[in-house]
Symmetry: C2
Subunit: 175 residues, 2 copies
C-alpha cells in the first residue's frame, strides 16, 4: 500500500513525463511538489525499492508499469471528484482542484467505480482534461492547441491547461 505522499510523487512524475517527454529531473519534481531536491532524492529511492519507479542515481526517473498504473488511478480519481464537485455540488470550477487533491487519496476501488457510474462514465473533467476509464485508458479527445487554430476558422474550446484558481476565475465556465 502506498502512502498519501507516495501517491503524490507518482502523480507528479506521471504528469511531468507527459509534459516533458524526456527524463524527469529531481529538481523538476521538487519544484512541482514544493519541496527540496534532497527530499525528492530520498523518496525516489524508496519508490524504487517498492518497484514503482526506475531510478538511476544522477540520471533521472521514470515510472514502472506498476507505478504508472497507480499514477493513472490517482489522476482518474482526482478528475472524477472534480467533476462531482462541479456538477453535483455546484462548486465553481476554480474551487474544485484543492478539494480533489484530498479526495484523490481515498482508498476504495468500489467507490471509484460507483462514482464513475454515478457521473455517467464521463470523458472529461471541468477543466476539459480527459478522465481515464477503468482500464486506465485515456479517451482520445481530438484536440489541438488554440494557438494553432487557423485564422477565421471556427473552433470549440474544450479545456484549459492552467488549473490555478486565479486563471480559472477569469471565466465563468467553459463553452
Amino acid at each position: 500500500m502506498l502512502t498519501y505522499t507516495e501517491e503524490n510523487y507518482l502523480k507528479a512524475i506521471f504528469q511531468l513525463q507527459e509534459d516533458e517527454k524526456g527524463k524527469i529531473s529531481t529538481n523538476s519534481i521538487a519544484e512541482r511538489l514544493s519541496t527540496t531536491p534532497a527530499t525528492v532524492s530520498d523518496m525516489l529511492q524508496k519508490l524504487a525499492a517498492k518497484k514503482m519507479v526506475n531510478y538511476l542515481k544522477y540520471y533521472g526517473v521514470s515510472l514502472t508499469a506498476g507505478g504508472k498504473k497507480k499514477a493513472i488511478n490517482v489522476v482518474r480519481k482526482h478528475r472524477l471528484w472534480e467533476l462531482f464537485l462541479y456538477e453535483k455540488l455546484e462548486f465553481n470550477w476554480d474551487e474544485v482542484h484543492e478539494i480533489a487533491e484530498q479526495l484523490e487519496h481515498i482508498q476504495s476501488e468500489t467507490l471509484v467505480q460507483k462514482l464513475y457510474d454515478f457521473l455517467g462514465k464521463p470523458k472529461t473533467d471541468p477543466h476539459g482534461d480527459p478522465i481515464p476509464d477503468e482500464e486506465g485508458v485515456f479517451p482520445d479527445l481530438n484536440t489541438i492547441p488554440l494557438a494553432v487554430v487557423a485564422v477565421r476558422k471556427d473552433a470549440i474550446v474544450i479545456g484549459v491547461s492552467d488549473h490555478r484558481p486565479d486563471f480559472c476565475n477569469t471565466y465563468k465556465r467553459l463553452v
Copy 2:
C-alpha cells in the same frame, strides 16, 4: 489545524463520553482505537497542549468546548458521507462505514455545507444515527430502545447501534 489522527481521538472521546457518561479512561480510548494505552497517554498530553481536552494525569479526560466542536464536526461529516454513499452511490449500508472513516477527514467547510444541501439537510444516516446541523446541534429523534417497547405494541425501528458489517449484513436495510 488538527491531524487525521488527532481528529480520530477527539471523535473517540466524544463517542465514549456519550456512552459512558463519566470520566473517560486511557484504556477505553486505546481499546476503541486499537492502539496501546501508552500511545493514548502521549496523545492526550498533546491534545491538552492544544486545548482540545481537559486532562488530569491518572484521572481521565474530557473534551473542551473547542474539542467537542471539532469532534461533532467529524461525526457530522462521517454521517453525511455515509448517507451519500448509501443514497447516491447505492452502497449497501454495511459497506459505508469504512469509506466514511476516510472521507470524514476531508478539510473543507464549504464541502460539508454543499453535501448537506445536496442530501436535503438530512436528520439521520443509514444506521439511523442523528446528523448534527451546521451549528453542531443533534436533531431530537424521540426514540427508545427496542428492548423497552411494550409487548404487543407497534413500533418503527429507526436505527441500530452496532455498525459492524457482520451485524448490518443480517438485514437488507432498515424499515
